[in-house]
């Protein structure tokens, strides 16, 4: 089988189905990190200003606060139900166990302790190399803890192909071809017509005889047919139920 080229990672459940998650890559995670860094900096400097008058006890408390912010900030926020620091939440990503389950306390602790190594040799160098080299974008701490950072919300396709008539496939299609055409049919509404045509031309073999300008429309027709639409039937199961 051809390895997938996108960043979907899967975890198998005891029921034998694969749960798929969309890994968050280096750019979005570094944005989240910057937001968190800003928040941490604000807290520490705020405490420093307030406690400036507190004398030496104040300095002691400040050191403790700095310690807590350094080590416990991510741990505490990632153990909330959102499983994300404020930065991650703002970027729409969260931490999960790699087996598709909610983050466990041990996993959270390990992935944040291992930051010490990810920071090496300089500016999170190990973490960046590890994230860029792996398709699931896990840093060393994630590998040790068995965790993964994924996008929280997923696009929810509606199955609405837009206006048009179903079209029987002119040649028999393999299951992979069918899947690709069905996926194209769902995405076509979100593409400009020119881009849709560009992509559709790659599948021109599946629709022999189509004019150069109408490959996309014919593919969508085939997607409808595969979905089970026929000319004499309602357009969607929702209509069919009534």
């Amino acid at each position: 089988m051809i390895p997938p080229i996108d960043t979907v990672i899967t975890a198998e459940t005891p029921e034998g189905i694969a749960i798929s998650m969309r890994a968050a890559g280096y750019p979005v995670r570094s944005m989240a990190f910057l937001i968190d860094a800003l928040i941490r900096y604000t807290i520490v400097s705020g405490v420093a200003t307030t406690l400036g008058a507190g004398g030496r006890v104040g300095v002691g408390v400040l050191l403790i606060v700095a310690f807590l912010i350094l080590w416990l900030y991510p741990v505490i926020f990632e153990l909330t139900p959102a499983a994300a620091t404020p930065g991650k939440r703002a970027m729409g990503i969260q931490v999960m166990m790699a087996n598709g389950l909610p983050l466990t306390p041990a996993g959270c602790l390990i992935r944040n302790l291992m930051r010490t190594v990810d920071m090496l040799p300089l500016m999170y160098g190990f973490a960046i190399v590890s994230m860029l080299m792996r398709r699931d974008a896990r840093r060393l701490g994630d590998l040790a803890a068995g965790t993964v950072v994924v996008y929280r919300d997923r696009a929810s396709p509606t199955g609405d192909f837009g206006p048009g008539d179903p079209l029987p496939p002119p040649v028999p299609l393999t299951i992979r071809q069918q899947t690709a055409i069905a996926a194209f049919g769902w995405r076509v509404n979100r593409l400009t017509p020119e881009r849709a045509e560009e992509i559709a031309v790659l599948a021109a073999d599946a629709v022999p005889g189509a004019k150069d300008s109408a490959v996309a429309a014919r593919l969508v027709g085939i997607a409808r047919w595969q979905h089970g639409q026929r000319l004499f039937m309602p357009r969607s199961p929702a209509e069919g139920q009534t």
Binding site: I17, G60, L63, M114, A144, A145, A155, S156, Q226, G240
Partner: protein, 316 residues
């Protein structure tokens, strides 16, 4: 069956599972929930293998993964569990991995003792370890004339030192642990380096005849501090071994296993270091406590720590 018929026939159960997922967890009817979950898993597998359209697969995988998270969620961590982890699982893990702690202890203590003897005999050697200003600072910190033992003249607040010890010592312990992932080299380096530094200071201060302040100062909190750093270093060596010699597992799987095995040790060691910081800031440095009292307390603490790890009933 076309995807259309499939969806028409089954979307009732999908909708029902979606509604159930929206409810509070307490109100769930477990049998119905599990039955729906298994049914939807079956539908998802069918839809995938038949290459059904994306929106059907996406909808099914979204509801099954949400249900999966609820069904297989691990039980919550309560205070009772934290206490059990600290008092039973922590020493049991330490005992099981005792060989790593023994190696770490040797790596820390051999340079400590060797360098301490060397700087005691030849105090000038300290300058190869720290610069002149730091050496002078240490000399003055442990002078019997010091206002509070073990800290620079201008810093006199117990609370400030408590904060400093927490930030510094726990940081060192975490470093000893986590850098072990670099084939154990990081743990090796930090253990040796801390041994050289600590031994150097001890020998240097003792060579001035300040033993009567220095040793009572370190005796008590070192029961917690040294032990915790040795445990973290040992855990780091275990991590390094998993990466260097993964055995029959892949390196990543071996690392994951070793990290889970040793995470308890780091958690327990962090608690020990907070205790050590409190003792170091409020008790060890107090000049009004006599050396005898400090030694008695130190002996008690060492016995407490050692028996904590050696005498607990073995975990099943």
């Amino acid at each position: 069956m076309t995807p259309f018929d499939f969806q028409t026939a089954n979307q009732g159960s999908w909708k029902e599972l979606e509604n159930v997922l929206g409810q509070r967890q307490r109100d769930l009817d477990p049998d119905r929930f599990l039955a729906l979950y298994r049914l939807c898993c079956e539908h998802l597998a069918l839809a995938r293998s038949r290459g059904f359209p994306l929106h059907v697969i996406e909808r099914l995988s979204s509801i099954t993964s949400r249900a999966h998270q609820i069904i297989y969620r691990q039980s919550d961590v309560g205070l009772a569990r934290v206490a059990r982890v600290l008092l039973e699982d922590f020493p049991a893990t330490v005992r099981r991995l005792w060989a790593y702690s023994a190696v770490a202890a040797a790596l820390l203590m051999i340079p400590t003792i060797a360098i301490a003897i060397a700087t005691y005999l030849n105090p000038d050697l300290i300058l190869s370890i720290v610069d002149r200003r730091t050496a002078e600072e240490f000399e003055q910190m442990y002078s019997p004339a010091a206002q509070a033992i073990g800290r620079p003249r201008d810093i006199a607040s117990d609370w400030m030192m408590f904060g400093f010890y927490i930030k510094n010592n726990i940081g060192i312990a975490f470093q000893c642990y986590a850098t072990g992932v670099v084939f154990g080299l990081g743990s090796l380096f930090f253990l040796l380096a801390n041994g050289v530094f600590g031994g150097g200071i001890a020998g240097y201060v003792a060579s001035f005849g300040y033993s009567s302040t220095f040793f009572p100062f370190v005796a008590t909190h070192s029961a917690f501090e040294l032990t915790a750093i040795i445990l973290c270093g040992g855990a780091g060596l275990r991590i390094g071994q998993s990466v260097l010699l993964p055995g029959r597992l892949t390196r990543v799987a071996a690392l994951e296993f070793a990290a889970r095995e040793t995470s308890l040790i780091v958690f327990g060691a962090a608690v020990m270091l907070v205790i050590a910081a409190a003792i170091e800031a409020f008790w060890s440095s107090a000049p009004w406590v006599t050396s005898t009292a400090k030694y008695v307390c130190a002996g008690f603490c060492w016995i407490l720590v050692l028996s904590f790890f050696l005498r607990r009933p073995r975990a099943k």
